[in-house]
């Protein structure tokens, strides 16, 4: 990697200030950024570490019934502490990467990066969560804006993610055998007023809601409701590990399995 300075603020306010420096970049768990730096694919002048900010860590149930997870909370903590209130999300967190990744990677880092094959964006979008930053709140539907692209402004930090808790939810993942990221994964969340389905790993545009499946499942929450629904492989990622057609097929299988796991 190239040389850079490191700042480790202890409050969100100080972090925002530090990020105003030229070529500054936030560092959360570093599970994407550090390999990028090692490959010399990025040249920040300063890394602002968010891991010393205690107000950004932790899982709590808010008075409005939403589960609030600090942006700097590592996956392992979510896997353990969200289990009681939101087991579907805890299960997603428990299956990200490997133990080393789960002990370093954070929810804020994951959603801010919006890797098209990351797990969290599917959970966040299917839950209809709200992304809280140092300056505003953004609905998940408006947050994810395509592969590695989000609504975040320069220097804006994800401080918390607020999850409405569905009646039930399940994340089904089919892994890419080398990276163990999702080749395709679907998060199905059933609320009392409808079903949301978010898909990761599949689309050239990153995480997306499969609205046809949502409509069908909202009317009839059964595997049968999904029969005949098809996605277009043409807009799906096509690579060494799976063609667009195969990924489109897997979206159907993963969604169906999530539903079957919930009924």
């Amino acid at each position: 990697m190239y040389n850079f300075d490191v700042e480790k603020p202890t409050s969100i306010a100080d972090a925002v200030k530090a990020l105003s420096r030229d070529e500054a970049q936030p560092l959360s768990g570093g599970q994407t950024l550090i390999p990028t730096l090692k490959a010399r694919l990025a040249m920040p002048s300063v890394l602002v570490s968010l891991s010393g900010i205690s107000e950004m860590r932790g899982v709590r149930l808010a008075d409005d019934g939403r589960l609030c997870i600090g942006g700097g909370t590592v996956h392992r903590t979510v896997a353990q502490e969200a289990e009681t209130h939101y087991p579907g999300l805890a299960s997603l967190a428990a299956r990200i990467g490997d133990p080393a990744v789960r002990n370093r990677g954070t929810i804020g880092g994951s959603v801010a990066n919006n890797d098209p094959s990351a797990c969290y964006p599917a959970g966040v979008l299917a839950s209809g969560a709200t992304i809280v930053t140092n300056s505003r709140e953004i609905e998940a539907d408006n947050f994810f804006q395509g592969m590695f692209s989000t609504a975040l402004e320069e220097g804006e930090i994800v401080t918390e993610v607020k999850f409405p808790i569905p009646e039930k939810a399940r994340y089904e993942k089919f892994i890419q055998p080398a990276s163990r990221f999702p080749l395709v994964a679907a998060f199905v969340a059933k609320f009392n007023d409808g079903v949301r389905v978010a898909v990761t790993g599949a689309s050239e545009n990153g995480v997306f809601r499969w609205t046809e499946a949502e409509t069908a499942l909202s009317a009839d929450f059964s595997a049968k409701a999904l029969e005949g629904l098809k996605l277009d492989g043409g807009s799906m990622i096509s690579d060494l590990h799976g063609s667009g057609t195969y990924r489109a097929h897997l979206v159907g299988v993963m969604t169906k399995r999530a539903v079957l796991g919930l009924i």
């Binding site: 010399r40 060494l240 195969y246």
Partner: protein
């Protein structure tokens, strides 16, 4: 009762104590005073004319010691190839120059163009980014069949084409083979790909060059399976350094799998640069560099055909294979698809007529060379897939068809130039049927089906040639080396022994297994014996470790040297006991006079050898140290039968290995635990090849699987607990230990069983698929089932 020492005991691996506690001494642990670091600027273009390499801006960067380009190596020799193949027309193969640093052209992504030596690796890398390289890109040649077409762009402009050689074997049999096909009752044809692999040893390659100006001595520390071979190849052919001024040390080495046999440019560079810079120069490969600079493995495209008579007897076999050499000839590359592959095409069967054609092709890819099994997995895979296909076409049981065609009498001279000394293929198949619990398969299949899964069972046999190799034979076949092995056994005054072996351990466990042999011969404790290897300064000239040869060849040399030691010790004992030499017996660490209670301990005899006060100095010299060189009279032929059981998810195409059983015949066994470990590791690599590993290039020659993000290695969770058995033992007839070698069997014997099982699972789901290429990824399975 299991033994607790000597031959046949599962002694714990003594080397693991240091490996597992971080006390190993790997090449990267070696840091010399004044050491500088080199970073190689590598081509990101597969094929192009190298117009210029401008280092002027880089030279003034902080910390830069010296920058080298191809122009600095024009007076230096080509990286040599150790095997020359003669083609079916009697012509020798085309052999291009292989420069240390690219000169004139770049020929694969990853080829080193320039090398920056600097005070730190970071500075070297910074300076490398300031080097301006001007390359005019040329069309890349990637597909082998396209590469040999008229008018294809040439990888090497000074060669007549991209065809390295067109080998026919046995050329004299060709007409008879073709005739047998005309007369055949049934012909089965199969076209397949043996996928390109990256070896991925846990320890990447490292080289540290050192030069002593005061004495003119060079030292190279390197991650090698055969330091003497590197010393000879690099000293004599590349840098012109005589062996007595060049020491090569390969200390603890963290896995090789073949890819650390070869002499690489980086070794020659560090040795050369250490003198040019007058300071030690170190290179440590990054994992990314390893993907594009370690020799790759396999990469064959084959059409194979079997002719059968009306009674399902195999009557003839013929194959056409394209074998990828990559952009240059790596050290043993030409031998892999020929003598290590064609000679094994008989497999376990008495097919009377065989013809093998191999076209070796240059492409704009990383050089391809031996990888665990080297040619023998390619032979086994195509033959055992073909036999399975025969069985299904004929509607007969695949195991029965194999049994019917087994070779049953030994020695057996195959129609492909080798003679199997021993084997019992019926016994290993019987054992396999027992340990694989074939009888219980249908019940397990029903359980899978109840879960919506398909279950498949696949089997294959294998034969391999190990204990490489008789020197006079391989010399006739084009080897530019002898393939004997050496050992010096030094007995110390108080009775302990040090064995300096020409073999090299990079995980195999020589430090444990070799002492077991000597402990058995003398009747002393294994702890009294130490193994030294990996340093040309203190071991006799040896050929190193590959081709499952260490115990069969290196161990035999050690036995011969120990026999000389015992013979001399008996002379000393006879003097001490005042008895006739012929009456002296060695047992349990003591020499005794037959029929008496007179005896003298091993330690008293060894002490006498070094303190020769009461000693027959007029007859024998003091001291107790002997060297032996052992040249085998034949290959050894391990064989076996493997079975795989898979579960297939028809909705996703995902395949899991549920059971895997291996029944091997390795002849005599020194350490059963180490043998099991070798088989386990080999099967893991074979399953990796069959299901996951895929080194893929795009049509521009860019490596698509250049990191672990895209190159899928098998992990523990991908593998079942294996059932391995090596109780079927037909000892090798021509080496003193009766051993055959076990290092490669798992990797050779497992891929066809996996693929055969996957196809069986598909058939059980009503999908009759003739063939599916490795790696059998979920996408491929799904496409095959829905195509």
């Amino acid at each position: 009762m299991p033994k607790d020492g000597g031959i046949g005991a599962s002694s714990k691996r003594r080397e693991d104590i240091r490996f597992l506690t971080g006390e190993g001494n790997y090449t990267d642990d070696i840091n010399l005073r004044g050491q500088a670091y080199v970073f190689f600027l590598r081509s990101d273009i597969a094929h192009g004319t190298l117009n210029s390499v401008d280092t002027s801006a880089a030279e003034s960067m902080p910390g830069v010691v010296k920058i080298f380009t191809g122009a600095d190596f024009t007076e230096v020799g080509s990286i040599p190839c150790g095997w020359q193949i003669t083609d079916k027309h009697g012509e020798v193969m085309q052999e291009p120059r292989h420069p240390v640093l690219a000169f004139g052209k770049v020929r694969h992504v990853g080829e080193p163009i320039a090398a920056v030596v600097a005070e730190t690796l970071g500075q070297a890398r910074d300076a490398a980014e300031a080097i301006e390289v001007d390359i005019s890109e040329l069309p890349a040649v990637i597909d082998m069949k396209q590469a040999v077409k008229e008018g294809a762009p040439k990888v090497h402009d000074d060669l007549t084409s991209n065809l390295c050689y067109d080998w026919g074997f046995v050329e004299e049999n060709k007409a008879a083979v073709d005739k047998a096909f005309e007369d055949a009752h049934h012909v089965t044809t199969l076209e397949l790909v043996n996928n390109r692999l990256v070896a991925n040893p846990m320890e990447p390659r490292v080289a540290v060059g050192d030069y002593a100006r005061g004495t003119g001595d060079h030292t190279l520390y390197t991650t090698s399976q055969n330091p003497h071979v590197i010393r000879l190849l690099m000293g004599a052919f590349v840098l012109g350094i005589p062996e007595h001024k060049l020491r090569v040390v390969a200390p603890d080495v963290g896995g090789g799998f073949g890819t650390k046999i070869f002499h690489y440019q980086e070794e020659a560079f560090c040795t050369f640069a250490a003198k040019a810079c007058n300071r030690p120069v170190k290179w440590t490969s990054s994992r990314s560099e390893a993907f594009m600079s370690d020799a790759h493995g396999r990469d064959h495209v084959t059409k194979i055909q079997m002719a059968l008579d009306a009674d399902n007897n195999f009557t003839a076999l013929r194959t056409d294979t394209y074998a990828n050499m990559g952009a240059y000839l790596s050290t043993f590359a030409p031998s892999v698809p020929t003598w290590l592959h064609g000679t094994l095409m008989a497999g376990n069967y008495k097919t009377p007529l065989i013809y093998v054609n191999v076209k070796a092709v240059f492409t704009n890819t990383v050089p391809v060379d031996a990888y665990r099994g080297a040619g023998r997995p390619e032979a086994t895979y195509q033959l055992e897939r073909l036999v399975d296909k025969c069985a299904h076409e004929l509607g007969v049981d695949p195991i029965a068809l194999r049994r019917q065609n087994f070779i049953t009498e030994f020695p057996y001279a195959t129609p492909v130039a080798v003679e199997y000394d021993t084997g019992d293929y019926i016994a290993t198949m019987d054992k396999l049927e027992e340990i694989a619990d074939i009888a219980g398969f249908e019940a397990r299949r029903k359980e899978s089906e109840a879960k919506g899964k398909l279950r498949g069972f696949g089997v294959n046999c294998y034969i391999e040639a190990c204990g490489i190799a008789p020197s006079n034979l391989v010399g006739q076949l084009g080897a530019r080396a002898g393939l004997y092995e050496s050992a010096t056994v030094r007995v110390n005054a108080t009775g302990g022994l040090v064995v300096m072996t020409g073999s090299h351990s990079h995980g195999q466990g020589h430090e444990t297994a070799f002492p077991q042999v000597i402990a058995e011969m003398i009747g002393i404790d294994e702890s009294m014996i130490e193994i030294v290897h990996g340093d040309t300064a203190n071991t006799p000239m040896g050929m190193g470790t590959y081709g499952s040869r260490s115990l069969a060849v290196g161990g035999s040399a050690m036995v011969r040297a120990t026999e000389k030691i015992i013979a001399k010790a008996k002379k000393i004992a006879s003097h001490l006991l005042e008895a006739s030499e012929g009456d002296i017996e060695l047992k349990d660490g003591a020499f005794s006079v037959a029929g008496t209670d007179k005896s003298v301990a091993w330690g008293d005899v060894t002490l006498a050898a070094y303190v020769p006060h009461n000693y027959p100095l007029e007859d024998i010299e003091p001291g107790l140290e002997e060297t032996a060189f052992y040249d085998p009279s034949n290959f050894t032929y391990p064989s076996g039968a493997y079975a795989c059981e898979v579960e297939l998810d028809p909705e996703t195409g995902h395949v899991t290995i549920e059971r895997f059983a291996a029944a091997d015949d390795f002849g005599n066994i020194v350490n059963p635990m180490i043998v099991s470990g070798q088989v386990h590791g080999g099967i893991a690599q074979g399953i990796g090849q069959a299901l996951m590993e895929n080194c893929a290039y795009d049509s521009d020659g860019q490596l698509l699987s250049a990191s672990y993000m895209d190159y899928a290695m098998p992990r523990a969770s991908d593998l079942p607990f294996y059932t391995v058995d090596h109780s079927c033992q037909t000892p090798c007839t021509h080496n003193p230990l009766g051993v055959k070698g076990c290092g490669e069997a798992g990797a050779i014997g497992s891929p066809p069983a996996v693929v055969n099982a996957v196809l069986d699972a598909m058939r059980s789901g009503g999908k009759n698929v003739d063939h599916i290429d490795m790696p059998v990824t979920p996408q491929r399975v799904w496409a095959a089932m829905n195509g």
